[in-house]
């Protein structure tokens, strides 16, 4: 591990936002916003440079303060981490620009929520730290940093519904991290190490490992709102302020998914069973159908978008069964693996862009109308052409129509499904798309319908609409570098030593 090239970027990616967040606390309201916006842009640019560095030099590491693990902390930036950091940077920059304009437009009535900025920078530091972490305990700490700043952001409006939803979110988040930490304790107890790479080699299949895998997976599923633990997400995401909803839906829930993906591929190769994979896939499948159906039944825009997040996160869970072959089946090559897990990464990116754009559009509509009941979306096209376009484009990506990023993700997911021979997941993907089309077209029909009565659309800053539109377009533009991106991801050798046990059909864990 330590023979990899070192680079200062990983340290900056975590340190810089923390420093700037702390710095901004010393300023008054307007100063906080200025430091916050400057800090977000700086962090974003830094992250893109770091992504570039990894494409050039491959995986880089940084040992904090020169203290070697296990007591010191090693940050590792491999292609998978770099892609997630890059995604956070691009989405984060546009949400920051939107937030700057959005809060300034409301400064007179609300005070402009200056605390958004330090909290968002802390959240960003937590996310970068999570993507860069290389040991189980560090992942726990970053999860908690993310959890606490995310809840603080969610309750920023100080309204009663937001506070109650936020408290529930916090309790769920604590429960999830404690379950995760319990699994970590068991793994440390049985192996004496927390390093991800080392664990992949030394972890023995057995009752303890299986139980640890179980509590860790449960804890992370609670955190990423996987079915049946999705109940906290719609109230928390829909009652937050618009830029916050976008951050929570686009980025925060992806942190837990990232850990789950890393652990299942890199660490738990030996103890994964076919049944465990099928079970988590089933939870994902139910989330896809249930979430889309619930979204279809809602009458307020933000709740539609929040329920749609539950469904879209379900697709992420559905890639896990594809990583494990049925008992007795041995694969000749690892061809089927790559579409399966890169589909997950693509779905993360496509959903981040589309959902951020969707929530930002919802914020614009609330700003214009004062509420977000969907009947009043009538004649949206006439009043706010750009927002209507953003909703349409983001919606098309959520449905998965070509040539959107959502289409790429679902296409590769289907490819992985058929290559791994688990055809029974395919109808779920298609039904999910159909239901998604249902609620997206319901919104679009209203947007084009003539207004029944004159509803007062207040004017909204044009720059807000542009931010939402750019993010929506982003969910299409990510298709262009698809080939390079997938090659880049595969160059990371994320499976490590786990790949052999995966190719043997999970035979280790099945007994």
């Amino acid at each position: 591990m330590t023979d990899l090239p070192t680079s200062p970027f990983p340290a900056f990616l975590v340190g810089l936002p923390v420093l700037l967040a702390t710095l901004s606390l010393f300023f008054r309201a307007r100063g906080k916003a200025v430091v916050g916006l400057a800090g977000s842009l700086l962090t974003g640019v830094m992250a893109l440079f770091a992504l570039f560095e990894v494409t050039r030099r491959g995986t880089v590491i940084h040992i904090l303060g020169g203290w070697e693990p296990p007591l010191g902390i090693l940050l590792r930036m491999d292609p998978l981490a770099a892609v997630f950091i890059g995604m956070t940077a691009v989405v984060g920059i546009f949400i920051s620009l939107y937030a700057w304009r959005y809060f300034r437009a409301q400064e007179a009535t609300t005070g402009g929520f200056p605390l958004f900025w330090p909290l968002w920078l802390f959240l960003w530091a937590g996310l970068n730290g999570l993507f860069l972490s290389n040991d189980l305990f560090n992942l726990f700490v970053t999860l908690e940093v993310i959890g606490i700043s995310a809840v603080a952001l969610a309750v920023l409006s100080g309204k009663k519904t937001a506070l109650v939803a936020g408290l529930r979110y916090l309790l769920v988040a604590i429960t999830g991290s404690m379950a995760y930490l319990f699994g970590v304790a068991l793994i440390y107890g049985s192996t004496g190490t927390l390093d991800l790479g080392l664990l992949g080699q030394v972890l023995e299949p057995g009752t303890t490992t299986t139980f640890a895998l179980l509590v860790i997976t449960l804890g992370l599923m609670i955190k990423m709102a996987g079915f049946p633990f999705h109940f906290w997400l719609p109230p928390a995401h829909s009652s937050a302020l618009a830029p916050v909803s976008a951050l929570l839906s686009a980025l925060v829930v992806k942190g837990a998914f990232y850990i789950l993906l890393r652990l299942w591929m890199e660490v738990f190769g030996v103890s994964l069973t076919y049944a465990a994979g099928q079970l988590i896939g089933l939870a994902g499948a139910i989330a896809v159908i249930w979430g889309s159906w619930q979204a279809f039944m809602q009458t307020s825009l933000k709740l539609i978008v929040a329920h749609s997040s539950v469904a879209q996160l379900g697709y992420l869970l559905m890639i896990f069964p594809l990583l494990i072959l049925a008992p007795g089946v041995t694969a000749d090559s690892a061809d089927w693996l790559s579409p399966a897990w890169t589909a997950g990464v693509y779905q993360v990116i496509a959903h981040a862009f589309a959902k951020a754009s969707f929530f930002l559009s919802a914020g614009i509509i609330i700003m214009a109308l004062g509420h977000d009941r969907i009947e009043s979306l009538r004649d949206l096209v006439g009043h706010m052409r750009i927002t209507a376009l953003a909703i349409a484009i983001a919606g098309v990506s959520l449905i998965g129509l070509p040539p959107s990023g959502g289409f790429m993700a679902k296409w590769m997911l289907l490819k992985g499904i058929f290559l791994s021979g688990q055809w029974w997941w395919a109808p779920v993907v298609l039904t999910g798309s159909l239901l998604t089309a249902g609620y997206v077209f319901m919104l679009l029909r209203l947007a084009f319908a003539p207004a029944r009565e004159k509803e007062a659309f207040r004017p909204v800053p044009r720059s807000l609409e542009v931010c939402a539109l750019v993010l929506a377009l982003g969910s299409f533009l990510i298709v262009l570098p698809a080939d390079n991106l997938i090659q880049f991801l595969q160059s990371g050798e994320v499976f490590g030593t786990g790949i052999e046990s995966i190719m043997e059909g999970g035979a280790h864990g099945n007994d």
Binding site: L170, T175, F182
Partner: protein, 100 residues
């Protein structure tokens, strides 16, 4: 039964009590206390692993981890209490109503 096994079993029991409490209780404070009990269980299991394998000295890593974990848990609990207090001040409610 060895000493660390006793601690370990206790930690599992505490964890289960805590997780049951989080899902069963409706009152804010009860839920928060349940998460603290869960945390206690997890930290106890960490500490108990420091003593295994008949090492001549205790393994320092779990202690370092538990100290960090406790700090995090205290912060989360304090934040949850602050939220609960704010909700009580605003509405007079002290438990989740249409709870899951």
């Amino acid at each position: 039964m060895e000493t660390y096994q006793i601690y370990n079993l206790t930690s599992a029991v505490l964890f289960v009590i805590g997780i049951g409490g989080v899902f069963a209780a409706r009152h804010f404070i009860r839920k928060i206390i349940a998460t603290i009990i869960m945390g206690g269980g997890v930290f106890l299991s960490f500490v108990s692993f420091a003593e295994r394998d008949a090492l001549t000295f205790a393994d320092p890593v779990p202690h370092a981890l538990v100290i960090t974990g406790i700090v995090v848990a205290v912060a989360s609990a304090a934040f949850a209490l602050a939220l609960a207090r704010r909700i009580y001040q605003l509405t007079g409610e002290e438990s989740f109503t249409n709870d899951k």
